[in-house]
């Protein structure tokens, strides 16, 4: 195993981003480039009775106007094929694209958009999850039964994906309990809100198209273009310039095909740049609203006997990658607890709102908020301290979780101890302050990935990776792994990345998978080059390859300090014969087995590969006159296995906590009765700012985890976003005397809870 890495973290993309010399998609221009604008439905539900683009097409300066009639009639979607590029017959949410225009500039494009005539027969707007599930509800998709869908997806009318977890006999378990606590929690939807609104630029050469786009998942974007425009992957190239954040909002396939189709029709390059409003209301990606009814049976000694829950998740108008949300939400409402009897039902419900999709740790912050707020209620019912209650019931090494997974060495209990110690849990506090504690979990995603690594004749090295950097630094950290493998410095490696025609497949900046899987690939690729270097050095130094050690940019003969040659010199030798090139992929770790439980609608989320655990402990202060809550101090402890890049890891945790504070207190999408989002700007959709940030202290419970990522690492990017809102909720409940049962727990909602 290579030597320990340095704590220093040099980001290859740092200077470009900090000095402004880096280029984002919206910064790119091409000769003859046109501007794209979309005509959105602007109503949440209606049947198109007239769509006339002739006036728009006739306008000077307009090069192309496209509708559903101008592209192949393809329904797509990763779980349920319920989507089309352009609305066909019916519009189902306000941001659905009805038509697209390419014109000389954005002003003319907007005038053309306005000149498109669309008339609708309005249909009732469905936003109530429980009403939508009722048997007599109007359907969001009349033709749902005819849609293609993956085999395990269990669907029924407005329920796009049902999933359940069953273990033991829940009714018997509840009957055994001394107390049964029932709670209902409601989470509003919210947004990823990346600072860079998305942009797409497409240019055709012959029958090939190059698309520059702000996506987190270039290979997914390519697959979407191929599917909807009916083209082979060899004719589509996706390049991602610097990405200005994503947080999941830029996962999935969105507008690349619209812009490619416009560019083809216009015979010119076409660029789309979203406004802030569009970034909020249009993409089929928002954090899902949820209703959680949860019931827990507990003995007087504090042991949990059973948990039963019913979850309704707002799918919005179309099913993106949200297909697996019902199962994942069910896992999060079960929680990392030893519970003999479990039954959870979760429904993914169509509504006429913006589609939901994976935003950082999908379903988890809301489900964890509900479960962990409920857990404090259960602890209160048996008169136990909530931390002691968690220590008694949480899973740990060797335990069996709610879905029947037996855990190897894990650090839940240690996370609880460390996080609570960081905020001095139990200290005497002023009467307007309290500390809340919550635990959470999150899987690592084991998927294929690949990398090439080469060292050129002058000794400069390149990593060619399909991985996507969304700001986390995960791609940047690949340099460190390669450097350690080859005895070089991280700075010696140039990254060639974010180009689907150059690099092997990668799933993208999604599922906390980048370092977990690409690390394996890069280490494998570097290992091949290391072999080549060792045999070259062995020849040069007249030693056995097994005795060659790569360190400090040199090949040394073990035990013979003067016998050394620089890697650059070896690269020069290789340039005249067999070139230094490695490639790697490695085998993704297998999913752990499950026993003693059953799942309906199993989409692979019941078994957590290399499960991550966390505990967040948060001290808040409440202004009792106004309900305004301020987070003062946060202690976090994370078991994400081995930490490869501590500075990068701390950045992930601190960012996750800040996002969690926003979800807890200020970030919620607000809709009117007609299904229009009302707060589509950063003044009314309130992210947390630097001025709001508390003191955040983090401890990593490092367990070298087998069947995981490089060096025993697990994922990390999403886990810090799981437990913060829950911990804040528990602190607020202590101050208010009861939980605030709606997320976000805005000042007004806290104040109202204090009145009741």
């Amino acid at each position: 195993m290579p030597a320990a890495t340095t704590p220093r973290f040099v980001r290859a993309d740092g200077p470009d981003k900090v000095t402004g010399s880096g280029r984002y998609t919206a910064d790119l221009t091409l000769t003859g480039m046109l501007a794209a604008k979309f005509r959105y439905a602007e109503i949440a539900h209606g049947r198109i009775t007239r769509l006339d683009v002739s006036a728009a097409r006739a306008m000077p300066g307009v090069f192309a106007v496209l509708t559903a009639d101008d592209v192949p009639d393809v329904r797509f979607g990763p779980f349920v094929q319920d989507r089309t590029l352009f609305a066909r017959d019916v519009v189902r949410y306000e941001g659905e694209v009805v038509a697209a225009v390419a014109a000389v500039n954005a002003t003319v494009a907007q005038l053309a958009v306005d000149a498109i005539v669309v008339e609708y027969e309005p249909l009732p707007v469905i936003t109530d999850l429980e009403a939508a599930l009722a048997g007599d509800s109007l359907l969001v998709h009349d033709g749902w039964a005819g849609y293609g869908a993956g085999d395990p997806v269990v669907r029924d009318r407005n329920d796009a994906s049902f999933s359940s977890i069953t273990k033991g006999d829940v009714d018997a378990g509840l009957a055994e309990a001394d107390h049964v606590v029932s709670s209902r929690y409601v989470a509003d939807g919210c947004h990823a809100a990346p600072i860079e609104p998305r942009a797409v630029l497409a240019q055709w050469e012959g029958n090939k198209v190059t698309i520059w786009t702000s996506t987190q998942v270039p290979f997914d974007a390519r697959a979407g273009v191929c599917e909807t425009l009916e083209m082979p992957a060899s004719r589509v190239r996706i390049i991602v310039p610097h990405l200005g954040g994503g947080f999941g909002g830029k996962c999935g396939f969105h507008y690349e095909a619209h812009i490619a189709a416009l560019a083809r029709a216009a015979k010119r390059p076409v660029r789309l740049v979203f406004s802030r409003r569009e970034e909020f209301f249009a993409p089929d990606r928002r954090r899902e609203g949820m209703i959680i009814d949860v019931q827990t049976g507990v003995r007087s000694d504090g042991t949990i006997t059973a948990r039963k829950a019913w979850i309704a998740i707002d799918n919005g108008a179309y099913t993106t990658d949200a297909g697996f949300f019902s199962q994942l939400a069910a896992m999060h409402v079960s929680g990392p607890y030893k519970i003999p009897n479990v039954h959870i039902d979760a429904h993914l419900v169509y509504t006429n709102l913006q589609p939901s999709g994976s935003v950082r740790a999908p379903t988890a912050p809301q489900a964890c908020w509900a479960l962990e707020s409920h857990t404090d209620e259960v602890a209160k019912a048996v008169g136990m301290d909530p931390v002691a209650f968690r220590k008694l019931n949480a899973v740990d090494t060797g335990d069996i979780g709610p879905s029947g997974q037996t855990y190897g060495e894990i650090g839940v209990q240690r996370c609880i101890d460390e996080a609570t110690a960081l905020v001095d849990y139990g200290q005497a506090l002023p009467d307007d302050e309290a500390i809340g504690v919550a635990i959470g979990w999150w899987p690592s995603f084991s998927v294929p990935s690949g990398a090439y690594l080469k060292i050129d004749g002058d000794g400069s090295a390149q990593i060619i990776t399909g991985a996507q950097e969304c700001g986390t630094g995960a791609v940047m950290t690949l340099r460190q792994l390669a450097a350690d493998e080859l005895g070089m410095n991280a700075e010696d490696f140039e990254l060639v990345y974010q180009d689907t025609s150059v690099a092997p497949y990668d799933m993208g900046a999604t599922g906390s998978q980048t370092l977990f899987n690409n690390g394996r690939a890069v280490v494998a690729a570097a290992g091949q080059v290391a072999e080549q270097l060792r045999s070259l050095a062995a020849e040069f130094l007249e030693a056995a390859p097994a005795d060659i050690v790569l360190a400090d940019g040199h090949a040394h003969v073990a035990g013979s300090p003067t016998s050394t040659v620089s890697i650059a010199e070896l690269a020069g030798i290789a340039a005249g014969s067999e070139l230094l090139i490695g490639h790697g992929s490695g085998t993704p770790p297998a999913a752990p087995p499950l026993a003693g439980s059953s799942c309906v609608g199993d989409l692979g989320m019941a078994a957590f590969v290399a499960p991550q655990f966390s505990c967040h402990a948060v001290r808040v202060r409440l202004d009792r006159d106004t309900g305004v809550v301020r987070v003062m101090e946060v202690g976090t402890a994370h078991d994400s296995g081995t930490i490869i890049n501590e500075m990068g890891a701390l950045g992930q945790v601190e960012g996750g906590v800040m996002m969690g504070i926003g979800q807890a207190l200020t970030e919620g999408a607000q809709y009117d009765a007609d299904g229009h989002q009302r707060n589509t700007g950063l003044l009314e959709y309130k992210l947390q700012t630097c001025a709001d940030s508390p003191v955040i202290r983090t401890h990593f419970v490092q367990i070298v985890t087998p069947d995981a990522g490089p060096r025993g690492a697990k994922g990390l990017a999403e886990a810090p976003n799981v437990a913060t809102a829950a911990a804040i909720s528990n602190a607020i409940a202590k101050l208010v005397g009861q939980p605030v049962r709606q997320l976000p727990m805005t000042a007004e909602r806290v104040w109202k809870a204090m009145q009741s």
């Binding site: 202004d623 200020t666 950063l682 009314e684 630097c690």
Partner: protein, 303 residues
């Protein structure tokens, strides 16, 4: 569209006489246009290079604040911080450091938003604006300036050249001070959900000699609270502060919107009025409460 940059006051007034709208920091005008709230005017005159209009001068009658004084300047200016800390409280809350560096007092006042932060302390302090045009100069008390959201009595060709605040009462043994607080959900880049400014003079025995309170974001314009004379001659004790809050709540006519419901606003403006009065009275009593009161005083749990 025409855009001119005035280098003298006369240039600016001439441009306005010819129909141009002034732009100072642009942090309302330009931002509103980009948000599609109001298109950019067809003719604009930039006034930001009129250095004389950025002066802050003590006068026999009080202080004269040039319309171009920025919030960043006001929140730190010794004359303001010592004698009119309520205005400094307000300027210190505006947006972010970037907003405070470009945003001007004249722009804030003339933009005439009912949620503007400097309006309540200025109104409570009895301030006026100096309006100039090619045809003359007039002084308009703030109580007569605003007529509705984004509307005021200034003619299209009138430039606000200064804000005038009268000197605090100086009778023997009395002490005056002021304060401004607002309800905010985060600590930067925020807009007042509601707010209150107070200006108070206390006699040597601690009783109230004069008290004025104005409220932010609970009516179509910043409004003065009336009927506070009953508090004169009495100490501003806990009961009196509660009564001040109750009167403020009663006189508010708030709306429900994305930021808050009307009932929550009505409740909270009372809290803000009580806290502003308390902070002003404590400052008048010699206590140093750092600027802005929001941070120093636990507004929005921001201790």
């Amino acid at each position: 569209m025409t855009f001119t940059i005035a280098t003298t006051l006369d240039d600016a007034l001439a441009a306005m006489a010819a129909g141009a709208r002034p732009v100072a920091g642009g942090s309302d005008l330009v931002v509103a246009a980009r948000h599609g709230k109001a298109p950019l005017p067809g003719s604009i005159v930039a006034i930001d290079r009129l250095g004389d209009l950025a002066q802050i001068t003590g006068t026999a009658d009080g202080v004269r604040i040039g319309a171009l004084a920025t919030h960043a300047t006001l929140m730190r200016h010794p004359l303001i911080v010592d004698s009119y800390p309520g205005l400094a409280d307000a300027s210190a809350l505006v947006g972010s450091p970037a907003t405070r560096n470009v945003g001007t007092l004249g722009g804030n006042v003339m933009n005439s938003s009912p949620a503007m932060d400097t309006g309540a302390p200025l109104l409570a302090l009895g301030a006026s604006v100096e309006l100039r045009s090619v045809t003359g100069t007039r002084i308009v008390p703030l109580g007569e300036l605003w007529t509705g959201p984004g509307r005021n009595v200034a003619a299209a060709d009138e430039l606000c050249t200064a804000v005038l605040i009268p000197a605090p009462a100086t009778a023997r043994g009395t002490a005056s001070s002021s304060a401004y607080v607002r309800l905010e959900y985060r600590r930067a880049m925020e807009i007042a959900v509601v707010g209150a400014g107070a200006s108070i003079t206390v006699a040597a025995d601690g009783t109230v000699e004069s008290i004025a309170i104005a409220l932010t974001a609970v009516a179509p314009t910043i409004i003065s609270v009336t009927g506070l004379d009953a508090f004169v001659g009495k100490p501003l004790d806990v009961a009196a502060l509660a009564a001040v809050g109750a009167i403020a709540s009663e006189q508010a006519s708030p709306i429900s919107d994305l930021r808050a419901s009307d009932s929550y606003r009505r409740h909270c403006v009372g809290v803000m009025a009580r806290r502003a009065a308390e902070a002003a009275a404590r400052r008048a009593g010699g206590e140093l409460i750092a600027i802005p009161v929001n941070r120093a005083f636990g507004i929005g749990a921001a201790r």
